[in-house]
C-alpha cells in the first residue's frame, strides 16, 4: 500500500471499550434527584442575592456535594449521575411536566426513564420551592395571548427552550486546554481589577465576574474530588493494572482542568470535564465539542513525536471519550421526547474542512475520530464531516466506509455554502472558515456565538390549512381573516393569503421566543458556560444576557416539500387546468380525501375515548374498543364523493413533485421556502442579534404531522410531513442524483441556521470500492450545486421491519433520524414508520 499523507492503517478496538459499552446498557436509564436537591438547598440560602451570584453558588454547592463515581474500566472519569445513562433534573427551568409524568415516564413510548418511588418523593418535596420561580413560568407571563393560543393550536412549538436550558453552544475548549480554569479565573480577576467602582454597570459586571471566579474554583475542586476518589480506590484495589490506571487518573485530575494540559491524556480528561459540567450547570442540550480534531491535534502530535504515546493508546483514550458522551442523558417532557426522540444529546463533533486561512485542515485525528465512531458504534457524538473542494479523497472514502455501516454517521457539511452563509450574517472570513456544527445541522463560530439554534419548530403546513378555513381552527379565529377560498379568483390571491397567514404566525413565533429569551436572561444566566465564550468576560455579561460576540435566534421550519407540492398542485389543477374549484379542494381536505384515518392516530384517539369511559366508571370489552376504533377510523364521506376524491388524488399524483429534478417545480419550492426564511430574518432578539431560519425538523415532523390535517399535495391527515428539505417520503422517483439536484435548488444560504437533507440507501449501493467512489461522487456533486448538508441511512427496509418484530435482536441498531442518530428500537412506532417510508435509493 502506498503511504499517503495520512496514517490510515486500522487500529484494533481494545477490549476495554467493549466492556465500557456493555456496561452502559445494563440497565434502563434512570432519573436521579441529587442535583435538584442541592440546587434547591443553595437557592434557599441565597434568597435576595443577585441572580448571577445565586447561580454560581448553586453550581458550587452541587459540585461540592453531588455523588461522584468512577466506573469500572474507565480511563476518562467524571459522571453526572451514579448510574450510567442516568439524568439529573433541572427544576429551575420547569418541573410540572415531570411531576405530572411521574407514573408514566417509565412506560411512555419515546425515551422512557426509570424513576424510583424515593426519587419521586424527594422531587415532590423539592418542587414545592420552585412554584413561581422557573424560567418557563416567567416566559409564560412575558408571552402574548395570541402566541400562547397559536402554540396551543400546534402552529409552532418553542417547547425546547420553554422547558429546558438553552445549550446549543461550542465553548472555548482550546482555551481551557491551554490555560485551565486557573487561567480563566485570572482573566476574570484582571477584568474585575480593571473596573471602576464608579462605572454605571459596575454592579452587574462585578457580580458576573465574581460568579465566574466562584465557578472556576468549583470546577477545580470537583476535579480534586475525583483525584482523591481515584487515589483511595487505587489503595484498595488488588488488581495491579487497575491500580496503576487509578493512580494515573488521580495524577491527571490533580492537574487538569485547573492548569493547562501537558499531554494528550490530560487534554482528553480536561476536555471531558468541560463537556460534562456544562451539562450539569444547565439542561440545555447540543453542547457540541466542535472541531475536536483541530484543538486536540497539537497535544497528540507532541506526545507521538516525543514517544510518550502510541497511536493505539491515543485511540483508546478517544474511544473512552466517545463512550462517556453516551453516558450523559436528559429527560424531556413526553411531547418534546417525540420531537427529539432517541435519548439524544446532539453533541456534535466535527472533523475536516478548512482552517482559518482557507487551507485543508484534515489530520490524522480526523481519521481516528471516524475509527472511534466505528469502535464505540453508538449515537453520540453526533459525528460530522466538513467537505470542501480541497477535502482529501481518501478522507471522504474513509467517511463513506463509516456511512456504509448503517450507523447514519457522519453527516456531511459543505464549506462552500456554510462559510459564505455565515459571512452574510456578519462573521469575518477567518471566523466563518473556522465554523463547526451545533446539534443537528446548525453552523456557527465556536466560542463567540450564542446561537439559540433550536429555538422552535414551525410547521409550514398549518398556515396552509388555515388559508382554507379563513383563519379559523377548531372553532377559534386563530389566524387573520384572509378570505374564503371559494371567492379567490387567481392563484396570486391564494398565495397572498398563505403569505399573510405565514407572516402572522412568524410574528407570534418571534414573540414567544423573545419572551423565553428574556426569561432565561433574568432567571438562569450561566456563569460557567459564559466564561468560555467571548466576549462575556470583557463585557462582564453572561451569555444569556447578550455577552456573546454573535447572537442569533434560529427557529426551524419544516414541511416545505408538502407546501411546495400542494401549492403547485393548486396552481396547476385549479387555476391553469381549471379541473377543480378551491371549494372542492377544501371539501376534499376536510374529508381527508375519503381515506380512513391514519391507524396510529385512530389508535391514539381510541385510547383517549377508552380512558375517559373507564374514568367515568364504566366497563369496556375488547369488542367495544374495536368498535370505537373502527368508527373513529372509518371515513364518513359518501361513495360518490370518495370516487371524486380518488380522481383528485390521481390528478394530484400526476403533477410533477419536488425531488424529481424538474426545474419549474423546484423553482417553485425555492419560492415557498422563502415564505418562511425571508420574513423571519427581519426580526431581532433581546440579546441584540437577528433571527435566521433553519430548515430541518429534528424528529418533530412525525408528532407535529399528527396534528396536521390533510394537505393539498395529497398527504393524508395526521401522517408525517416532509422532513427537512428532503422531498416528501416516497415522491422522489428518479434516483438520488435527481433528488439531490432538486434539493440543491433551494436557497441554502439564507437558511443559515442549517438545512437537513435525508437520503436513504440500500446497502447494495455502497458495496465495494466502486460503490464508495460513486457515493463520494454523489456527495461532491450535491455540494458542487450548493447543498448545505446531507446524511444517509444505509439499512434495508427488510432489516428495519425485522427490527420492529424482534427488537431484542437489534438493540444496537443505530439509524439516522434527523440531524442525529439514535437506537432504532428506542424510537416511537410512528417515527420508525417514517424512517422506513423514506424513499430508498439504489445504485442501478
Amino acid at each position: 500500500m502506498v503511504r499517503m499523507k495520512f496514517y490510515t492503517e486500522p487500529i484494533a478496538k481494545s477490549p476495554r471499550i467493549a466492556k465500557l459499552v456493555d456496561a452502559l446498557f445494563e440497565k434502563m436509564p434512570q432519573i436521579e434527584a441529587d442535583r435538584a436537591v442541592l440546587l434547591t438547598e443553595s437557592y434557599k440560602s441565597t434568597e435576595g442575592e443577585p441572580i448571577i451570584t445565586r447561580r454560581a453558588k448553586a453550581f458550587r454547592h452541587i459540585l461540592e456535594n453531588i455523588p461522584i463515581t468512577i466506573r469500572d474500566n474507565e480511563l476518562i472519569v467524571g459522571s453526572a449521575t451514579k448510574a450510567p445513562r442516568g439524568c439529573q433534573v433541572f427544576p429551575e427551568y420547569s418541573f410540572e411536566w415531570l411531576e405530572a409524568e411521574f407514573d408514566t415516564v417509565e412506560k411512555r413510548t419515546a425515551d422512557p426513564f426509570y424513576i424510583s418511588e424515593e426519587t419521586k418523593q424527594t422531587l415532590s418535596q423539592v418542587y414545592k420551592y420552585w412554584k413561581g420561580k422557573t424560567t418557563s413560568e416567567l416566559a409564560t407571563s412575558y408571552m402574548s395571548e395570541e402566541a400562547k393560543l397559536a402554540i396551543e393550536h400546534g402552529m409552532f412549538t418553542p417547547g425546547n427552550y420553554f422547558y429546558n436550558g438553552i445549550g446549543h453552544v461550542t465553548v472555548d475548549y482550546p482555551k481551557v486546554l491551554a490555560v485551565g480554569y486557573a487561567g480563566i479565573k485570572k482573566e476574570a480577576e484582571d477584568a474585575l481589577a480593571a473596573l471602576s467602582r464608579g462605572d454605571a454597570d459596575f454592579a452587574k459586571r462585578s457580580h458576573f465576574l465574581q460568579a465566574v471566579i466562584i465557578s472556576c474554583d468549583a470546577v477545580v475542586r470537583y476535579a480534586r474530588r475525583y483525584s482523591e476518589l481515584a487515589a483511595s480506590m487505587a489503595k484498595t484495589t488488588s488488581d495491579v493494572r487497575r491500580r496503576k490506571e487509578l493512580e494515573d487518573i488521580a495524577a491527571v485530575c490533580r492537574e487538569v482542568p485547573e492548569y493547562g494540559a501537558r499531554s494528550f491524556r490530560e487534554a482528553c480528561q480536561s476536555f471531558w470535564f468541560v463537556q460534562m459540567l456544562l451539562q450539569v450547570e444547565s439542561s440545555g442540550h447540543s453542547i457540541s465539542p466542535g472541531r475536536f480534531d483541530q484543538y486536540m491535534y497539537p497535544y497528540y502530535k507532541k506526545d507521538l513525536d516525543e514517544g510518550k504515546i502510541t497511536r493505539e493508546e491515543a485511540q483508546e483514550l478517544m474511544d473512552c471519550i466517545w463512550v462517556k458522551l453516551n453516558d450523559l442523558n436528559k429527560v424531556r417532557d413526553a411531547a418534546s421526547a417525540e420531537g427529539f426522540a432517541g435519548y439524544s444529546l446532539f453533541q456534535n463533533l466535527i472533523t475536516g474542512g478548512q482552517d482559518q486561512y482557507g487551507k485543508d485542515a484534515t489530520n490524522d485525528l480526523s481519521f481516528m475520530c471516524i475509527t472511534a465512531t466505528e469502535h464505540v458504534f453508538l449515537p453520540q457524538p453526533s459525528f460530522s464531516v466538513r467537505v470542501w473542494n480541497g477535502t482529501p479523497h481518501e478522507f471522504l472514502i474513509r467517511a463513506g466506509e463509516l456511512t456504509r455501516t448503517g450507523i447514519g454517521l457522519p453527516a456531511y457539511y459543505n464549506d462552500e455554502v456554510i462559510i459564505p452563509a455565515l459571512q452574510s450574517r456578519g462573521l469575518t472570513l477567518a471566523e466563518a472558515r473556522d465554523y463547526n456544527i451545533i446539534g443537528c445541522v446548525e453552523p456557527q463560530k465556536a466560542a463567540m456565538t450564542d446561537g439559540w439554534h433550536d429555538a422552535a419548530f414551525f410547521n409550514m403546513c398549518r398556515p396552509l390549512e388555515l388559508v382554507f378555513s379563513n383563519g379559523r381552527d377548531k372553532g377559534v379565529q386563530l389566524g387573520p381573516r384572509t378570505g374564503e377560498v371559494e371567492s379567490m379568483r387567481s392563484y396570486e390571491e391564494f398565495e397572498q393569503a398563505y403569505r399573510a397567514q405565514m407572516n402572522y404566525f412568524i410574528e407570534l413565533l418571534v414573540n414567544a421566543d423573545n419572551a423565553i429569551d428574556v426569561a432565561h436572561g433574568e432567571r438562569c444566566p450561566l456563569p460557567f458556560q459564559s466564561c468560555m465564550v467571548n466576549d462575556c468576560i470583557a463585557r462582564g455579561k453572561s451569555l444569556q444576557e447578550g455577552g456573546a460576540v454573535y447572537n442569533f435566534t434560529g427557529p426551524q421550519g419544516f414541511g416545505i416539500a408538502n407546501v411546495a407540492d400542494g401549492m403547485y398542485a393548486i396552481k396547476k389543477l385549479v387555476f391553469e387546468q381549471k379541473k377543480y374549484t378551491l371549494g372542492f379542494i377544501k371539501k376534499a381536505l376536510e374529508d381527508n380525501y375519503g381515506a380512513d384515518m391514519d391507524g396510529n392516530m385512530a389508535a391514539k384517539l381510541t385510547q383517549q375515548v377508552a380512558a375517559s369511559v373507564v374514568a367515568a366508571g364504566k366497563e369496556l370489552t375488547a369488542e367495544d374498543i374495536k368498535t370505537v376504533y373502527l368508527t373513529i377510523r372509518a371515513n364518513k364521506a359518501s361513495d360518490e364523493d370518495k370516487a371524486k376524491y380518488a380522481q383528485l388524488l390521481a390528478d394530484i399524483a400526476a403533477i410533477s413533485k419536488f425531488g424529481n429534478d424538474d426545474d419549474e417545480v423546484d423553482a417553485f419550492a425555492r419560492e415557498m421556502a422563502y415564505t418562511y426564511t425571508k420574513p423571519l430574518e427581519t426580526y431581532r432578539n433581546p440579546r441584540g442579534g437577528i433571527y435566521q431560519a433553519g430548515l430541518y425538523p429534528v424528529s418533530a415532523n412525525v408528532p407535529l404531522g399528527a396534528q396536521t390535517g390533510a394537505t393539498p399535495d395529497g398527504r393524508l391527515a395526521y401522517t408525517p410531513v416532509a422532513d427537512g428539505v428532503s422531498p416528501a417520503a416516497g415522491r422522489d422517483l428518479k434516483g438520488p442524483t435527481a433528488a439531490a439536484n432538486s434539493v440543491s435548488r433551494l436557497d441554502h444560504f439564507i437558511a443559515s441556521n442549517g438545512t437537513l437533507f435525508n437520503m436513504k440507501f440500500h446497502p447494495s449501493a455502497l458495496e465495494g470500492r466502486s460503490g464508495l467512489e460513486s457515493f463520494v461522487a454523489l456527495v461532491r456533486g450535491y455540494f458542487d450545486q450548493k447543498g448545505s448538508h446531507i446524511q444517509f441511512n444505509v439499512v434495508s427496509r427488510e432489516t428495519l421491519r425485522d427490527a420492529q418484530k424482534h427488537p431484542e435482536k437489534y438493540k444496537s441498531l443505530v439509524v439516522r433520524v434527523a440531524g442525529y442518530s439514535a437506537l432504532f428500537t428506542t424510537l416511537s412506532r410512528g417515527l420508525q414508520e417514517d424512517i422506513i417510508n423514506r424513499t430508498e435509493q439504489q445504485g442501478f
Binding site: D661, K734, G735, P736, T737, A738, N741, A765, S770, G771, E773, S774, V776, A777, L778, R780, G781, D784, Q785, Q841, G843, F844
Partner: protein, 264 residues
Amino acid sequence: MEQSLLETKGRIFNIQRFSIHDGPGVRTIVFLKGCPLRCRWCCNPESQDWKPETMVTAGVSKTVGKDVTVEEVLREIERDRIYYRRSGHGGVTLSGGECLWQPDFSAALLRVCREVGISTAIETTGYADMDVIRKLLPYVDTVLMDIKHTNREKHKEFTTRDNELILENAKHIAKEAADLIIRTPVIPTFNATEEEIRSIAEFAKSLDGVEEMHLLPYHRIGSDKYAGLGRTYTMAHIQVPEKETMQKLLNVVQDVGLRAKIGG
C-alpha cells in the same frame, strides 16, 4: 453541433440515472427498445419488441416505449454531468434492447455526447452487421459486449440466434474499439460451469487488447415483468448461483489471465 444530429429520432423505454454497475463511474443509462435476441433470462423483456407495448406493474398499466429525439435524451443526460465528472469517468451508457438495432439514433446520440465532453459506453450483444457497428465505434469510449456462450447450438437454443456473427464481430471490435470489456451473464443450466466459462474467457483472452471480463450472476429481478406483459417466464425453476460458485468461476477467468469481477 449539427441540427440534424439533434433531431435524429429513436425509441427508448427508460432512462436510468445514478447507474453504477454498467461502465465506469456514475452513469446515466439509456435503454433502447428492440432487440434481435430473445434470451430466456432477459431481465428487461419489455425491451425486446420494437413495438410500444403495455406492461402492468404493481397493478398499474403503463405504455413501454417512447419516441424521442437525440436532443431530448441529451438534455436528460446533461442533468447528471456534475456526478459524471465527480466520479472520474462517468457518463452515458446505451443499453437496451440493443443499440445496434437503431444505429443512426445511437450513433448520433453517442456523437453529440462526445462533442459535449461526456464519456460514452455501449452495452451490446454485438449482433449486427459489422458495417453497422462501425457507424458507432468512433464515438464510443467503452464497449461492454456480451459473449454468452462459445457453443453455437446452445447459444441458439437459449437466445434464438447463433453466435457466429457475434464471435466474428468481437474480433473486429477488439481491434477497432477504444476499449472492449467482455461480459457474460452466468445462467445455471446454460453456461454456469467451469468448462463453459473457461471457454468464453479463453476466447475473450484471444481478442486483441481485451484485458477485462465481467461475470454477471443470473437474477430474477425482471421475472414479474413477464406476467405484466402477459408472457410466461420460462426460467422460474432456475436457482440464482451461489456466492461460492461465482467465486470459482471468477478464479477460472483470472486463471486464463484476465482481470475479472463479479457484477459490472
